[in-house]
Amino acid sequence: MSRALSPSATRRWTSGLGGVLAPRLFQAGLVAWMVGTLTFVLTRALPGDMAYRIAAGRYGDDMVNTHAAEAVRAELALDQPALNAYFGWLWDLMNFDLGRSLVSGEPVMRELGHQLGHSLGLALAAVLLSLLIGPPLGLAAGLRPKGALDRISEVVASVLRALPPFAVGLVLVLVFSVTLGWLPAAGHGRTAHTILPALTLALALAAVSSRVARNAMADVAQAPYYAFSRTKGLGERLSFLRHGLRNAAVPVVAYLGVQLVYLIEGVVVVETLFAWPGIGHALVHAIVARDVPMIQGTALVMGLLFVVLNTLVDLVCHLLDPRRRTA
């Protein structure tokens, strides 16, 4: 395919890569500082006494009392001025030290490592599943705009995207666990446990990516170069493979970046529903217990994850579309 393009466009894929990565690296630093500062300010601004909150998180509602709260306050030096705590945190961050969880006393890094693995596994499974479902359906629909497949998939996609992940997850559990008994309802540890939560996330992702793929394909199918490929005698299959797929892929991949917002938001809900020990679940609990280092750690990881994933999307687009490399 690249042979058909002009020589100036056949630069090596590495050219212009620095232009992609450098701003992203700067962005990562900025995100880390902003997320950390914001979570710090927000958790301090929340109503309620932090020492009592942390004591409730640690010892449970039966055992939280003034004695426990004062012990927590003394142990964690909570009455030091906020500015001291903030600069202390910033200094530790620059040394790649996220501190210890106020509730469990474990290093935040270790807890995040444990949870991030679970979340990434789930997210990856969801994205792969959605790529298996969404784009193929969309491409097929885009080749025959207004066809039966196009209309049906449009309705299904709209419904799936409109339903909150919580509802989709419950329906899946009712069908596949309670009624059919094929898959476990919740929990983790075995591969089978991944399927339902991943599918819950994947269905909503696929709903959008199928429509994006459908529109991209429909545009490509109506483009003059596509018509020309047919005119010059290429069959439908070869036209699609040589001139359709790659051109339609760019918007699909680029849109994946936007959808990752949904993934990060969806993980919080889905992890709680399926008792999945990931980072979204950890964030919810950390906020309830006012576990500031954990909130900062999880928010930081989620923010950085967003930057990393967007960088990956940029890189894939860079690979897919030689026109970008001239920049």
Binding site: G48, N65, H67, A186
Partner: protein, 508 residues
């Protein structure tokens, strides 16, 4: 006979035919595991039978031998001596010695927990016994030593500064994997001092959402599921593969009232609020357990503390109106009572960790509206009740108070009401309320071990609390569980100290 049943159980467990014995027993409950420390997550290890306390409880909820076989109080009541059980080994193979027990209790004492309530002076090992010296006589010590914050761990469980790095207990099950905050797997400990459990291994999974727990029971993912939401319970009851269990707990949904608040300082005002509550309606409609309606603080399981009042008689709207009328409240134009131009308006704080509390709060809002009292409900975190108590900003607080944290409700009562007439009240109890009689009775109960005196004083305390209403009961808790028919021998511990998994066996 015990030996026969023991070998029979062992034989059953080893039967190669029963395929069910190959898999672990799956237990699901809402409570997350914070770590290995008994002060934060001790209840999980106690319930999963990993670690044990010096004092156990029997079926009637009374103190019974645990790791200590006997205990005695000195003449002046200021020294307790606990004789330890022989031939007990920790899961790491080290023996249970008096030194290990004393060190473990010292660690428990240094952290927030149940032992805060005891005037402990010193803990020391003495031969095969542990001696606890007190600053003043304290009859309740054995009961406190049954609480999960006093679990006995091996010396190697503790790292620097008393941090618990590993959970090494003495129970019939040992920890196999621990993955906080959700999962704990345990396997049978072969050198257990007592009867060997029939089931080889078990896993505990913390699942926060009630819907998910119910679905796990329904789909067969879990063998035992604790704490079912009222809506799911009816559905699970129709399943042929499950049996439902329910057991009243000594945990009571109560609201505490700030007795220094100008609207609430007269006991008649608090009684009027109590008389306006439709407890049977809340129990039947919201909690779906008609017998949960609580006209008094202590349920029947707490023996002498229970008065036997009638739930239906606890509601009398006309009398409530009369009482408020006596206090000078008059019906205003918007259907809200007014006094000196001010509306009768209060804020009730509660929290959502226990999903029924916000529901009960809105029911109170509705029922008091009928009386002409306007209630704002603020749903937050459980810690806002003790912190609001401390800074004096709390008006009303709705909570679920466990009077059976230890086998004797006195432990909780001393914390909630106090024994010093000049400084009464507690974070989860009375606020701005004083009663010298009650403080004196509690103080006597704390020191005197004579059963007749204790019964009489318990009755007096219960009646006084019911008249003065520093805290007002609404409903008693029911522990609920859905259990797979693949499992036999299930029962609920009314004190929630144990899941009794060592008594379970796979059905044939």
């Amino acid at each position: 006979m015990p030996r026969l049943s023991r070998s029979l159980l062992l034989g059953l467990a080893l039967l190669p035919l029963s395929a069910a014995a190959d898999r672990p027993l799956n237990v699901v409950a809402p409570w997350e595991i914070t770590g290995a420390d008994p002060s934060t997550s001790g209840y999980v290890y106690a319930r999963m039978r990993v670690a044990e306390t010096l004092v156990d409880t029997d079926d009637a909820g009374q103190p019974a031998p645990g790791l200590a076989t006997a205990w005695e109080q000195s003449e002046d009541g200021r020294r307790w001596r606990f004789t330890l059980r022989d031939d007990v080994t920790f899961h790491d193979g080290s023996p249970l010695t008096a030194e290990a027990v004393a060190a473990s209790l010292e660690h428990a004492l240094a952290k927030p927990g149940m032992l805060d309530a005891a005037p402990i002076d010193a803990i020391r090992a003495d031969g095969d016994a542990v001696v606890i010296e007190l600053e003043s006589a304290f009859a309740l010590l054995p009961a406190l030593l049954s609480h999960s914050s006093t679990l006995i761990l091996a010396p190697d469980a503790y790292a620097e500064a008393g941090r618990v790095e590993r959970m090494i207990g003495t129970g019939p099950y040992r920890v196999e994997t621990l993955a906080p905050p959700q999962r704990l797997s345990v396997a049978r400990f072969d050198d257990y001092w007592g009867e060997a459990p029939a089931i080889d291994s078990a896993s505990y999974l913390a699942v926060g959402r009630g819907e998910t727990r119910a679905l796990m029971a329904e789909s067969g993912d879990a063998d035992v599921v604790f704490t079912l939401d009222p809506a799911s319970r009816a559905r699970l009851g129709r399943s042929a593969n499950l049996t439902l269990h329910a057991e009243p707990l000594p945990r009571t949904i109560v609201f505490k009232a700030n007795a220094e608040h100008p609207y609430l300082d007269d006991p008649r005002a608090r009684r009027a609020l109590s008389l306006a509550v439709d407890r049977e309606g809340i129990a039947t409609g919201l909690l779906r357990h008609p017998e949960a309606a609580a006209p008094e603080l202590f349920p029947a399981a707490l023996g002498p503390w229970h008065l036997g009042l009638d739930a239906a008689a606890a509601r009398d709207l006309a009398q409530a109106r009369e009482l408020l009328d006596e206090l000078g409240w008059e019906m205003g134009s918007k259907g809200i009572l007014e006094r000196d131009g001010e509306p009768f308006r209060l804020t009730l704080r509660t929290f959502s960790d226990r999903p029924e509390l916000p529901l009960v709060a809105t029911a109170l809002q509705d029922q008091w509206r009928e009386l002409g009292v306007e209630l704002d409900v603020a749903v937050g975190n459980s810690s806002e009740i003790p912190s609001g108590h401390r800074d004096g900003s709390l008006e009303l607080g709705l909570m679920a108070r466990n009077y059976g944290l230890v086998p004797d409700p006195l432990g909780t009562l001393i914390e909630d009401f106090g024994t010093d007439p000049d400084d009464m009240g507690g974070d989860w109890g009375a606020m701005g309320w004083r009663d010298a009689d009650l403080a004196g009775w509690l103080d006597t109960l704390r020191q005197d071990a004579d059963p007749d005196t204790r019964t009489e004083l318990a009755q007096r305390v219960a009646s006084r609390l019911n008249e003065a209403m520093p805290v007002v009961p609404i409903a008693w808790y029911q522990q609920t569980a859905a259990v797979s028919t693949a499992v036999e021998g299930f029962s609920i511990d009314p004190l929630e100290r144990s899941y009794r998994i060592d008594e379970l066996r796979w059905a044939e």
